[in-house]
Structures are given as structure tokens and as C-alpha cells.
Amino acid sequence: MSEFVRNVRLWLEPGRVREQGTTPDYRFSLANERTFLAWLRTALALIGGGFAVDQFLPHLRWAWRVGLALALLGAGVLCALRAVHHWVRCEQAMRRGEDLPVSRFPAVLSLLVAVVAVAMVVVVLAGWAG
């Protein structure tokens, strides 16, 4: 719980990141930045997927269309938040010389995307277009 509170404080006062430990080799920070950008691209792709479902599957029943689109959009927003949160945590760990944080997020996201993809295939093939 204290970990959570500390993370929230970091979000609110991001400047604190630079007050801790020592500045790591710039190449490590740049690698961390590229990881952040890769997550942000994933988020943008999921958000684009949400738009695409809404746009290109107009014959789906309303509930299915909205449900699938919102699932993708929700995953995209979570992914964007996670991108910046994980970047801050990694930067901190490097500054303090600790191990990089581990996370269940990638596995959970993979499962969610798989479920949405299967649901989409089933819905489209089964012709539940209403």
C-alpha cells in the first residue's frame, strides 16, 4: 500500500524523480524512453482499433459494437497510463541502482486483446449483425 501511495505521489510530483539517486548513463534513459514510446504506440493502436470497430462494423448489433469498441478503447487508455507509469518506475529504479520493476500488465493485456479478437471473429462469423 505504501508503494501505491509513493507511486501516486510520483505522479503528482514528477519532478521528484530527478531528486533521487544518481543520473544513470544517458543510453539507459534513452532505452527506457523508447520502451515508453513503444507502449504509447500500442495504446494508440488499440484506440485506433476502437475507432475501426465502430466505423467498419456498422452492421453489428449495437450492444456488441459498443462493447467491443469500448473494450479496445479502455485497453488503450490503460496502456497509455501504464506507459508513463512504468517509465517513471524504471527511471527511478535506475537512479537508485535497483532491479527494474516487474509487471503482470503485458500478460493481462495480451489475454484481454486475445479475448476481444476471438469475440470479434465469433460475432462477425456467426452473423449476429442484428
Partner: protein, 107 residues
């Protein structure tokens, strides 16, 4: 864009790779923004559509500006400073604003 300086040899070419990562992300953002504008133009109410088109364009331009800012910083010195949390949050905010537009359109 910014002329590359010739720094001491960096075997990993980190700043260049990071610059390209920003470019790729801008491209991904552009694709999403185009989808967003396409959806907004077809919105049920013209007023909502116009507001959302404007918002999507602002988001996209903001992201473009942020990426340009960061790329300039990367090009300016052989050992560029760490990304600032403020810039990271701003870039993330642009992506999330697009998602909010989508949610408004879908429902």
C-alpha cells in the same frame, strides 16, 4: 529536421534510435487521428462532429509539437538529457484525449 551533430562515437546510436521511435509514434498517432477525424465527420450531430474534429486536430498537432521538441533536444547534444515527466505526460494525454473522443462517438 534538425541537422545531426557529429558526437563522440556511440556504438548503439541511441539518440538516433530514439528520434526514430518518436517518428514512428507520431506516425501511429497520425493513423489514429485520421480514423478519429473520419469518425467525427460522420457523427450524428454536426455540432458534436465539428467539436470533435477540432479536438482531434488539436491533439494531433500537440503531439506533433511535443515530438518535434523532443527530437530537437535529442539532436542538440551528443549526450541528451532525460525525457521530462511533463513531456511524457503531455504525450500520453494526447493519446487519451483521442480515446475520449472515440468514447463520445461510440455511445
Amino acid at each position: 529536421m534538425g541537422g545531426m551533430t557529429a558526437p563522440a562515437r556511440d556504438a548503439g546510436l541511441q539518440p538516433q534510435r530514439t528520434r526514430l521511435a518518436w517518428r514512428r509514434t507520431t506516425l501511429a498517432g497520425t493513423v489514429t487521428a485520421v480514423l478519429a477525424v473520419r469518425a467525427s465527420v460522420r457523427a450524428a450531430s454536426p455540432l458534436t462532429g465539428a467539436v470533435l474534429v477540432l479536438l482531434c486536430c488539436v491533439c494531433w498537432l500537440a503531439f506533433l509539437g511535443l515530438a518535434h521538441l523532443r527530437i530537437s533536444t535529442l539532436a542538440a547534444s551528443p549526450e541528451p538529457p532525460t525525457l521530462t515527466p511533463r513531456l511524457a505526460w503531455a504525450a500520453t494525454g494526447c493519446a487519451m484525449a483521442l480515446a475520449v473522443c472515440a468514447a463520445v462517438l461510440v455511445s
